[in-house]
């Protein structure tokens, strides 16, 4: 019951917020409290060993919509709640139309529904709902650049979701069910059926468009970097994760380890290369979203319990530090009036101190310095990856992360003469605290034996070397362009890339 109440209450609050007026903020607050109560209740029930399961409308669970509370859904739901709190704190003093809050409620409600759903078609509807709400949120300020970015987002996501629906059609035609658990049982009974690669390629390819994977999600850099900071934080922290959650669910149905490893390595490397090339700070963060999704896929493709837990842990860590970075960078950009790193460097005195501290904490988190979030999650993830080649790739991505974030170092030390108002310190403290205290937080998810094994000197050494090498690469490349094409991110190339990506996934599943 709690599982279904969680999204439905949000939708109700969204509907009430349409009336607008002075109660809008109070309703957001009430919604956050209700979420917290329901999530605590779900967590307590799960900890008590109860099986949380509900099939809507009294249908048999082969065709009815099933919601299941499990260990993939709950941590991500907690992340969604944490980011919702951060966004509420960040936008507390802003002048926003009621329309913004309506969309926000719908977005968070759909995200809550997404993490618990076991039904493929239900997932399709929710993903489309997320597309529509985030499309409107990206274009909220009505700046032409935002409008164009969000239109590209909508077109590419709609193509992706059509492919997903085709995949649903193939799977339903052959098995007569849309429930992922039943589908998995069906496939385990006949793992070499000829329709499986086709259905898997269509489903994975369709979701990959929403999940921020290179060659599928080429809309992402523009949409994430042009939206307002609070929206970017939610897009990177929550909406992208919903695609990833669905990919995790599909991984339990289809044999996707190799596909995930290939896509993960490609996404990680290309994301990093583009991040090193760009000097636009918000775009840099957007490209990092791509590269970090690469980590998640590598972790999930490695097919060991520790790496999967690591991937889940990393999804949460990434949500926290990326949201913090988007919020803090957004404020810095608003104070200086440009998002170019070089311009920001010249005007760094006008960035408030709290914002610079928040950027520093976010950087420590994303680069993976102990004891911040990125280090713990990455160590757990790597402890489960056994292939040497993949481990080297993970290392290269870490070095690249450090290299591209070295660009931000000159922003940090300066005497602040900030005249920029907007106190958003509470949001920074909330997210920064979670990043700094990530070890005890992830102890609720990851077994202690795995955690303590990762807190050893080889891991510290690895983190240190990655940062040093990254800084070296940054010094080496300074002022040079890698010459990667920017025209890749148009609608036409994006569509071609989606089709090519689906064919590649199909080939990987069918012939390898």
């Amino acid at each position: 019951m709690e599982l279904i109440l969680l999204p439905l209450l949000r939708f109700a609050f969204g509907a009430i917020s349409m009336a607008g007026g002075r109660w809008t903020r109070a309703i957001s607050l009430l919604a956050l409290l209700c979420d917290a109560a329901l999530l605590t209740r779900i967590a307590l029930l799960l900890a008590g060993g109860a099986r949380l399961e509900i099939t809507l409308g009294g249908w048999a669970d082969a065709v009815g919509i099933a919601f299941v509370g499990d260990l993939i859904g709950l941590p991500i739901a907690a992340l969604i709640w944490g980011l919702a709190v951060a966004v509420a704190l960040y936008t507390w003093r802003n002048e926003l139309r009621p329309y913004f809050f309506v969309l926000l409620h719908f977005l968070i409600g759909s995200a809550f529904a997404m993490v618990f759903t076991q039904d493929l078609f239900n997932a399709y509807v929710i993903l489309e709902l997320l597309t529509l709400t985030s499309f409107l949120l990206v274009g909220y300020e009505r700046k032409p650049r935002q409008i164009w970015a969000s239109l590209r987002y909508l077109i590419l996501c709609s193509v992706g979701m059509s492919l997903f629906l085709l995949g649903i059609a193939v799977a339903y035609y052959h098995t007569g069910t849309l429930n992922v658990v039943r589908l998995a049982a069906h496939i385990a009974g006949n793992p070499s059926a000829s329709w499986i690669p086709l259905a898997a390629a269509l489903l994975v390819g369709g979701v990959a468009v929403k999940a921020g994977i290179f060659f599928f999600s080429l809309w992402l850099p523009a949409a994430h970097s042009r939206a307002m900071p609070a929206v970017s934080a939610l897009l990177s922290g929550v909406v992208i994760k919903m695609g990833v959650v669905e990919l995790f669910r599909l991984a339990e149905v289809f044999p996707l380890d190799l596909t995930f490893t290939v896509l993960g390595v490609a996404t990680g490397l290309l994301g990093i290369l583009y991040a090193i090339q760009t000097y636009d700070l918000k775009e840099l963060l957007a490209f990092h979203t791509l590269s970090q999704i690469g980590y998640l896929l590598i972790g999930f493709g490695a097919e060991s319990a520790a790496s999967r837990l690591g991937a889940l842990d990393y999804a949460i860590a990434h949500g926290l530090f990326k949201a913090l970075l988007f919020l803090a960078v957004g404020q810095a950009v608003a104070c200086v009036g440009s998002s170019d790193v070089r311009a920001l460097k010249l005007e760094r005195c006008s960035i408030p101190l709290a914002t610079r501290i928040a950027i520093a904490v976010g950087m420590l988190g994303i680069v993976g310095i102990p004891p911040f979030a990125g280090f713990t999650a990455k160590a757990v993830l790597e402890s489960g990856v056994h292939s040497i080649l993949v481990r080297v790739m993970v290392g290269v991505i870490s070095v690249g992360t450090a290299a591209s974030f070295s660009k931000l170092l000159p922003l940090l030390p300066a005497r602040s003469t900030a005249t920029c108002e907007r106190p958003t310190t509470a949001a920074y403290a909330w997210l920064g605290g979670a990043i700094a205290l990530f070890l005890p937080l992830s102890a609720t998810l990851v077994p202690r034996s795995i955690l303590s094994a990762t807190w050893q000197w080889p891991a510290y050494l690895e983190a240190g070397i990655a940062v040093m090498l990254g800084y070296g690469v940054h010094r080496l490349l300074r002022g040079r362009s890698l010459g990667l094409p920017k025209r890749l991110f148009r609608v036409e190339e994006g569509t071609v890339a989606i089709v090519a990506g689906v064919l590649i996934v199909f080939a990987l599943l069918r012939f390898v």
Binding site: V63, F121, Y124, V125, E128, T131, L132, F135, L136, G139, R142, K143, P144, R145, I147, W148, S150, L151, L154, I155, S158, V159, S162, L165, L166, I168, A169, V170, Y172, Y173, L178, V333, A334, V336, G337, S338, S339, R490, V491, E492, T495, V496, V499
Partner: protein, 121 residues
């Protein structure tokens, strides 16, 4: 499965839609192509659910045994509504773009939005 039936037609239409998205530069035509892609998916779903001489899945007292599977049709109804919402909202955004750039040519909008100075509040 690959005779001249709904599924084949759906695949062809899907391809035409994708081609339209890729080679046409006019945004309105791009959206029409997107509509074609979405409709092709719907046609595919309905055709896969269809069967020879199946009755419509409507419960009546004197119902014969062979009825068509109602689930694809239920799915299609939701999908049609979603696709309608997407097209309608996309057209509104195209309208906003035309107000600003006075063109529906995606390549020109791309160029102008890239060179345009961003105004941060």
């Amino acid at each position: 499965m690959f005779g001249f039936n709904g599924v084949t037609i759906a695949i062809v239409l899907f391809g035409i839609g994708l081609l339209g998205l890729i080679i046409r530069r006019d945004l309105v035509i791009k959206l029409l192509a997107l509509g074609l892609v979405n409709s092709a998916t719907i046609l595919c779903l309905v055709s896969l659910g269809a069967q020879e001489s199946g009755a419509p899945p409507i419960l009546t007292p004197d119902m014969r045994a062979a009825i068509v599977d109602p689930l694809p049709q239920a799915i299609v109804l939701s999908a049609i509504v979603i696709n309608f919402a997407i097209l309608a909202l996309a057209l509104v955004f195209v309208m906003l773009l035309v107000e600003r750039y006075h063109t529906t040519d995606s390549a020109r909008i791309e160029r102008e939005s890239d060179t345009e100075e961003e105004t941060w509040n």
